[in-house]
């Protein structure tokens, strides 16, 4: 972790009630964002992946957001939204290589057969865990997670956190929005609080 030269660099990002905010997340670092409901945490993540019009410079390593097509940017900086989206009837075709991912299903507490399930039968938490694997599949350098464990019980939450720690060990930078203070303490190296459109460092 090199605080002088973070992997994800956000400069003067502005969108709706947010900003301008500037911050960075280092390789292998996890930064948690907290704040009351409706302050714009989800808006901030969406702005970083360029899903809404916004102003500011964002950079991941030597990839400058404005210089690459948006789909390429979103493969480098991946976001897991709070609500997962599905567009086909079965789970498997939502993955690029379902057979490779099948073996990872136990990592999120699902049986390998889950790959053959119908989307319609999935519980909220199952959908969310599958969406996390799908998000990781492309091997992003930066992960933006919007309340990834909000729908999960304690044990499954810990399982997901273990998976995320594994990602950190591989050098991924993680920005995680969470309402769970203990989760922030367990995972994050730094905690930022979003209020009135500005990010404030919270003493860890």
């Amino acid at each position: 972790m090199n605080p002088e030269n973070p992997l994800l660099k956000v400069r003067a990002l502005t969108r709706l009630m947010i900003g301008p905010v500037s911050f960075g997340v280092g390789a292998g670092e996890c930064v948690a964002i907290t704040g009351p409901s409706g302050t714009g945490k989800s808006v901030l993540l969406r702005a970083i992946v360029d899903l809404d019009p916004n102003d500011g410079q964002v950079q991941a390593g030597d990839v400058i957001r404005a210089d690459v097509p948006a789909p390429d940017w979103r493969k480098t900086v991946a976001m897991l939204p709070a609500e997962s989206g599905w567009w086909l009837d079965h789970v498997a075709p939502h993955f690029q290589a379902p057979d490779r991912i099948r073996g990872q299903l136990p990592l999120v507490g699902l049986p390998e057969t889950a790959m053959e399930w119908e989307v319609a039968r999935l519980s909220t938490g199952e959908k969310h865990r599958l969406a996390l694997l799908r998000c990781l599949e492309g091997g992003p350098k930066v992960l933006l997670l919007d309340e990834p464990t909000a729908a999960l019980d304690h044990d499954t939450t810990l399982q997901i956190e273990a998976l995320l720690k594994q990602q950190l060990d591989q050098g991924t930078a993680i920005l995680i929005v969470t309402h769970d203070g203990t989760q922030a303490k367990r995972l994050a190296h730094r905690i930022l609080r979003l209020e009135d459109g500005q990010l404030q460092r919270v003493a860890a």
């Binding site: 019009p53 979103r74 599905w86």
Partner: protein, 270 residues
């Protein structure tokens, strides 16, 4: 056309009795349809009589500018109709512009080509040929486009989460919207595909029936009907494609974002 039988106004009056009976039945059974029925019938009579008079004078004046004026207003009216039939529309001028533009491009374009080459009327814009053909082509294109745009806009707003999920996985706007786009195109194409499949067995088209009634040899009438069906099919297809692609282009942007704020919201109702 020696065996053409002209109708008298008494004949029409007699024919309208069946509609009057319907009205009386509605009154008697408290169906509450009599007012609507009466208004629609009166509108039909007035509109058709006016159109008859208008066409008669247009045909005799034979002016390209007047013909163009009438054709333009037909396109604009059809455009308004497409706009009005969508539950969610593009905001601003786009809402009217994309449907109307697609109809002008496909409907009017194909009509002009048909007039200049296949029908070969002289001069090509002769209103007696141009306006009826344009009317038939526009009417069907209008149906197709409004169905397709309605399906597209409803689908996009309903499936925002799954579309954005695909965008977030690094898909382009065209690929993320493909499922919705495909469904919209299908609803736009369905009426004309169904019409082509059923024509001649389930239904005898009005135009062909009209020609046969006025003494045209049935095989000749069929030829004209085929021509018109080909034109309608082609124009509907091109118009539907142009309108849906235009609308997808407007509802996304060059950074592969979904721009749902460019769509109006229907009034909330239970």
């Amino acid at each position: 056309m020696s065996n053409y039988i002209a109708l008298t106004y008494t004949d029409l009056l007699l024919a309208s009795i069946f509609l009057v009976i319907n009205g009386l039945l509605s009154l008697w059974l408290h169906l509450g349809l009599e007012r609507k029925l009466a208004i629609a019938a009166v509108r039909m009579v007035v509109q058709l009589i006016l159109v008859g008079l208008l066409l008669k004078s247009l045909f005799s004046i034979l002016s390209p500018w007047l013909t163009l004026l009438v054709a333009t207003s037909m396109v604009l009216f059809a455009g308004r109709e497409v706009w009005a039939r969508q539950e969610r529309k593009l905001r601003g001028l786009w809402g009217f512009g994309i449907g109307t533009g697609a109809m002008a491009f496909a409907g009017a374009g194909i009509t002009v080509i048909a007039l200049t080459t296949m029908i070969g009327s002289d001069p090509w814009w002769t209103p007696r040929f141009a306006l009826p053909v344009l009317g038939m082509v526009l009417g069907n294109t209008m149906n197709g486009i409004s169905l397709a745009l309605d399906a597209l806009h409803t689908g996009i707003s309903r499936e925002r989460v799954s579309i954005e999920a695909q965008l977030l996985l690094g898909q382009t706007r065209w690929s993320a919207l493909r499922p919705v786009l495909r469904r919209a195109l299908r609803s736009g194409f369905m009426p004309i595909i169904n019409a082509m499949g059923a024509v001649g067995i389930v239904s005898l088209p009005g135009m062909m029936t009209g020609q046969i009634l006025s003494g045209v040899d049935p095989t000749e009438a069929v030829k004209y009907q085929l021509l018109v069906m080909f034109l309608i099919g082609g124009a509907t297809g091109l118009g539907v494609l142009a309108a849906t692609f235009g609308s997808v282009w407007r509802l996304t942007d060059e950074r592969d974002r979904l721009r749902l704020e460019r769509l109006t919201k229907p009034k909330d109702s239970a």
